[in-house]
């Protein structure tokens, strides 16, 4: 028997609210990981919990036909992203803390030397991420940390796909302009593929 899609569960939850629990089970960890990586353990955990409460309240507004692949993942990450916007100070503090932490190293990893190089640029990277315009940072981090495609980010943020493309392009350009003088990025990496879906 095929398992009901997110859209079907959400639609059913309007009559039977307990059906929303299936959406929680499927996506809680994705939302939690995204929020915690982006804003820190405690606040991220709280934002993950509140994301599902708010999603539940707004479930009648979820449009399965507009959801990429019928999944609620982008919708939920969009709600979490909007909540993170209300924690700008927390996010900046978290970035400051990250910039001061040594990168995880493992002598067994072949890319170890590159990781050592990355340590040098952490403060500049964190500073530039904090300085990005909100819309660019959200779109970029939904791609990098949330692993969403352009179409999914567009759904999450409620903007056209073209806008997402240009926001991510601008964000990457700003980051690369800041990092290139430090020699931390490859020169041959000016083009990229949509990493979300083929």
């Amino acid at each position: 028997v095929q398992e009901p899609t997110d859209g079907e569960q959400i639609l059913a939850s309007i009559e039977d609210p307990s059906r929303f629990e299936a959406v929680f089970d499927r996506h809680y960890d994705v939302v939690r990981r995204y929020a915690q990586r982006r804003i820190g353990r405690a606040t991220g955990e709280e934002i993950a919990a509140r994301t599902f409460l708010l999603a539940f309240e707004r479930r009648s507004g979820f449009r399965p036909s507009a959801a990429v692949g019928g999944s609620a993942r982008a919708w939920l990450l969009g709600i979490a992203t909007n909540m993170i916007r209300h924690h700008l100070r927390d996010e900046r503090t978290h970035l400051r803390i990250l910039s001061a932490m040594p990168a995880e190293r493992s002598a067994t990893e072949p890319d170890d030397e590159a990781r050592l190089d990355a340590i040098d640029v952490r403060p500049a990277l964190a500073q530039q991420l904090a300085a990005l315009p909100e819309g660019e940072r959200d779109a970029f981090l939904l791609m990098v940390l949330g692993e969403l495609s352009y179409a999914e980010i567009a759904e999450a943020l409620g903007v056209p796909t073209g806008t997402v493309r240009s926001r991510i392009h601008r964000a990457r350009r700003r980051l690369r302009e800041r990092l290139r003088p430090l020699g931390a990025i490859r020169d041959d990496d000016d083009e990229w593929e949509d990493p979300g879906r083929g």
């Binding site: 939690r32 955990e45 509140r50 409460l53 990168a103 590159a114 970029f140 490859r186």
Partner: protein, 327 residues
Amino acid sequence: MTTMSGRTPAVDDFELVRSLYGEAPPSDPVARARALRALRRAATPRWPRRNALAAAAIALVALAAAITLSLVRTSGNDAVDQLRRLSGIAGGQEGELAVGGRPVVYELSQASEIRSGFDVETGEGFFVEARTRNETWRSSDGSVFRISEVLSVRFPSDAARAAWASAVASGDGSMPQVGELDEVNIPAGRIPFPDLAELPLEPDDLLQRLRTGWWPEPLGGDEETLRAIAELLARGDATSELREALFEAGSTLEDIELLGDRTDPLNREGVAIGLGPADRRVVLVVDPDTSFLLSLEERSGELTTWRAYQAWATVDSPGERPADDLS
């Protein structure tokens, strides 16, 4: 191109950013269970449906109450006058609500909370009402420490009582039990407006700030704004100037109503001011002589929850209680 350390770069910006953020912490089962419990509370159906006869009886009582209320209810202008009068009283007081001059503000309140669960036998949702005694300590850095003790548990039906007993026996920690203590530490910056001094004192600006700057989402309607005003009026670190501005701001809310004299859930007499449709009405009961907020009552569907504010003081550290018994 070479790095500062002379090595050949070999990472792209995506990899750098992922490296900066690192991996997410492993899942915390307690936090997950807490999030799921909160969702279940929100998702649990309203009180069990009553039969048609009971519903008709309730409708008649409601009609009678509405007629009575309409007789005692005065106009919106009266609400405006009353709030302005309270604003004047608040402005005439000195300093913060919690007096004593020590660094940590202590607040004492009681509350009625609805907790919900699922009957393990039938799978049906049920509610119980927990009456709690709440002590809150606000430090100057914006952090908050709170201890809540369950004073009593009330049940809307025998079925709810049985379901609660079954849940407690099965070890469901979300079900309230008399004497249960809950401690919460909220780090600095995690409550709305940790520094009240940042709030504007001009009523229109204050109202705008409340509507747009409340955490985590902007406020949805005037009843939410009135609730936010109440929560700030109840803060021990609210100054007389802020309380004056809050009453004044409340008087500008459209459809604000004076509901007349009323006793609060702790049987203290006050004047009631309310706003919102019947199924999500917010009511403040205020001491007409001192302007102190006695209680905040919220109607949500068929349920009413409340918080009654009892005392404010200052102490030297979180967890320390005032020397005098304030309850």
